[in-house]
């Protein structure tokens, strides 16, 4: 049993936590306000009306579909690249290994706008046209770091003797991979994948620079914030985005906690 914390410390820590959590509660409240032009508080009345209006909106439906597709393809790509990179960095020493691990974390260590404008420069120089795939390339580039971090962390706790034991018992490289390595790494890959999905679904900065006319859900929200229109619908979409990013985050946390306790 740990010692009791000083009262003042608890007060400060609680204040810090409230600062982190209270603002988001207002997004929930505002999704139900009858106010349709301003941000008046307290809301003059409550209604469910805007949920129906949002559901009917074709732009929102398309943006949601695009966001989900980009996140799914980018996550898959990032998982393959990140797991391969982790495997190589973990098991072998080669010339340029440090450079590779630097390149993996750089897209999230540098401000997102750098990744965005760099990709934009490359797109402009190579003359590639903007498409679904330029979006996927941009998203996968920063999602690799998430996949890599999760997988390599698990690998570092893995006993390398397992692989040798498997080989000694006559397993081929493929069998070792399939029956020894994968079951150990599986949950780390899934956790990394869910976090990468949430990250991609929510990303705006890299998206802005690698999208042409395509509109993802974050781009839709951003543009309706810069040029306010459909305020009540924006409130509902904000709630929707929170709900969609929340599911993979919570799942990945439960997953990580479960494997931790094994």
């Amino acid at each position: 049993m740990k010692a009791r914390a000083p009262r003042s410390l608890t007060v400060l820590a609680t204040a810090g936590l409230m600062y982190l959590h209270i603002p988001i509660l207002f997004v929930f409240l505002y999704a139900f306000t009858t106010e349709d032009a301003a941000f008046t508080f307290p809301p003059p009345g409550l209604t469910m009306r805007w949920f129906g209006v949002a559901a009917q909106n074709e732009d929102i439906r398309q943006a949601l579909g695009l966001s989900l597709m980009v996140a799914a393809v980018a996550t898959t790509t990032a998982l393959i690249l990140g797991t391969l990179a982790a495997g190589v960095v973990w098991r072998t020493k080669f010339f340029g290994r440090d450079t590779l691990s630097l390149f993996i974390v750089l897209p999230i260590a540098l401000p997102g706008i750098i990744t965005g404008i760099a990709l934009r420069s490359a797109i402009s120089i190579t003359g590639v046209s903007f498409s679904f795939w330029t979006l996927v390339i941009g998203h996968a580039t920063f999602c690799v770091a998430v996949a890599y971090n999760n997988v390599i962390a698990r690998m570092r706790r893995l006993n390398p003797n397992l692989l040798e034991a498997s080989a000694d018992l006559g397993a081929s490289g493929w069998q070792t991979f399939r029956y020894v390595l994968m079951p150990q790494l599986g949950s780390a890959i899934i956790t990394g994948g869910m976090l990468a999905f949430a990250l991609s679904f929510d990303e705006i900065i890299v998206t802005t620079f690698t999208a042409g006319n395509q509109q993802t859900l974050p781009i839709w929200i951003f543009s309706s914030l810069v040029r306010p229109r459909n305020r009540p619908v924006t409130n509902v979409v904000a709630l929707l985005v929170i709900a969609i990013t929340f599911v993979p985050i919570i799942l990945s946390q439960r997953f990580a906690a479960r494997t931790e306790n094994q």
Partner: protein, 308 residues
């Protein structure tokens, strides 16, 4: 187990096992191809673009090498933008340390088991939940008819709010259009990045040292100054990489909150988008890269990389 079905795969994997270099090359091809070629290449093209310039007549990119764009970067106006951004990044980093420390310390030293998991999760969740929506939440809070104004009104402290908004440099027409509001939102958004490495650092702090310090008669303040702070500094430096770097490049918060007075990120964004001047946007983007390069070198000396 029907191994026969795998015989081709088996032979292939045995073949690869004996040829270490080939195996390595195959494994490396995809990640290296992607990161070094796509991302590294993009960074290279960023640098390359900064040596082009925009043709003022046609508005297209003139691809003959020139230093003209770089000359435009070093104008007073752009340097003022850079200074302003670095100032905000510094203020946000310091505030994150001040707000984050009690939280990190309370979690690391006075909780265990389920309570600790719950508190760490409570810090982690805002980090992962939608960035754009969290910025939006503050728009609701800070708007002139919004929650904060109502709160001040209920407390009968509207005059205090007006006094704050009247202050030069940090004030503005409403909280959501002031530098103070911007600062609050930046700090809110990046705070978890500071709390988590700090908490890990406090966790590594040997309790015996703190007890020894108290036994030898040091006041809590002295213990903090001479034991706690120097030992958690690598963790603080690690957290500050994120709070600093992310503030440096962000353009979403300055667009939604504040008076749209330029930040580096906003300048890059509008040069690229509105003005269509990709070369100048590229050259401006080198500023945060250089600043972060210097910052990372300093942070590395403080041991930040081991604390990540």
């Amino acid at each position: 187990m029907p191994f026969r079905e795998f015989s081709l795969i088996r032979r292939l994997s045995t073949y690869l096992y004996t040829r270490r270099r080939l195996r390595l090359a195959l494994l490396l091809a995809l990640p290296v191809g992607w990161l070094v070629v796509v991302y590294g290449g993009s960074l290279g093209s960023l640098l390359l673009n900064s040596f082009f310039q925009i043709d003022s007549f046609s508005g297209t990119i003139d691809r003959s090498p020139t230093l003209e764009t770089w000359r435009q970067v070093f104008t007073d106006a752009n340097m003022a933008v850079a200074g302003r951004t670095i100032g905000m990044a510094t203020a946000v980093t310091i505030a994150s340390i001040l707000i984050g420390f009690p939280l990190a310390y309370r979690i690391a030293r006075f909780t265990s088991g389920k309570a600790k998991t719950a508190l760490v999760l409570a810090v982690l969740i805002p980090l992962w939940s939608s960035y754009l929506v969290r910025v939006y939440a503050w728009k609701l809070l800070l708007a002139s008819e919004g929650v904060a104004a109502w709160f001040f009104n209920v407390l009968g402290a509207s005059s205090v709010l007006n006094w704050i908004l009247g202050l030069p440099l940090i004030g503005g027409p409403s909280l959501s259009t002031s530098s103070l509001g911007q600062f609050l939102v930046f700090t809110y958004i990046w705070l978890p990045y500071m709390v988590l490495p700090m908490q890990a650092a406090v966790e590594r702090l040997p309790e015996s040292l703190l007890e020894a310090s108290a036994d030898l008669g040091a006041s809590p303040a002295t213990t903090f100054r001479r034991i706690t702070w120097p030992l958690i500094l690598p963790g603080v430096a690690a957290g500050s990489i994120f709070t600093f770097s992310l503030t440096l490049g962000d353009y979403i918060i300055p667009t939604i909150i504040g008076n749209s007075s330029p930040f580096i990120g906003l300048a890059i964004y509008s040069q690229q988008g509105v003005a269509g001047n990709l070369p100048l946007a590229a050259a401006l983007a080198i500023i945060p890269v250089v600043v972060m390069g210097l910052y990372l070198t300093g942070a590395r000396k403080l041991g930040a990389f081991e604390a990540l």
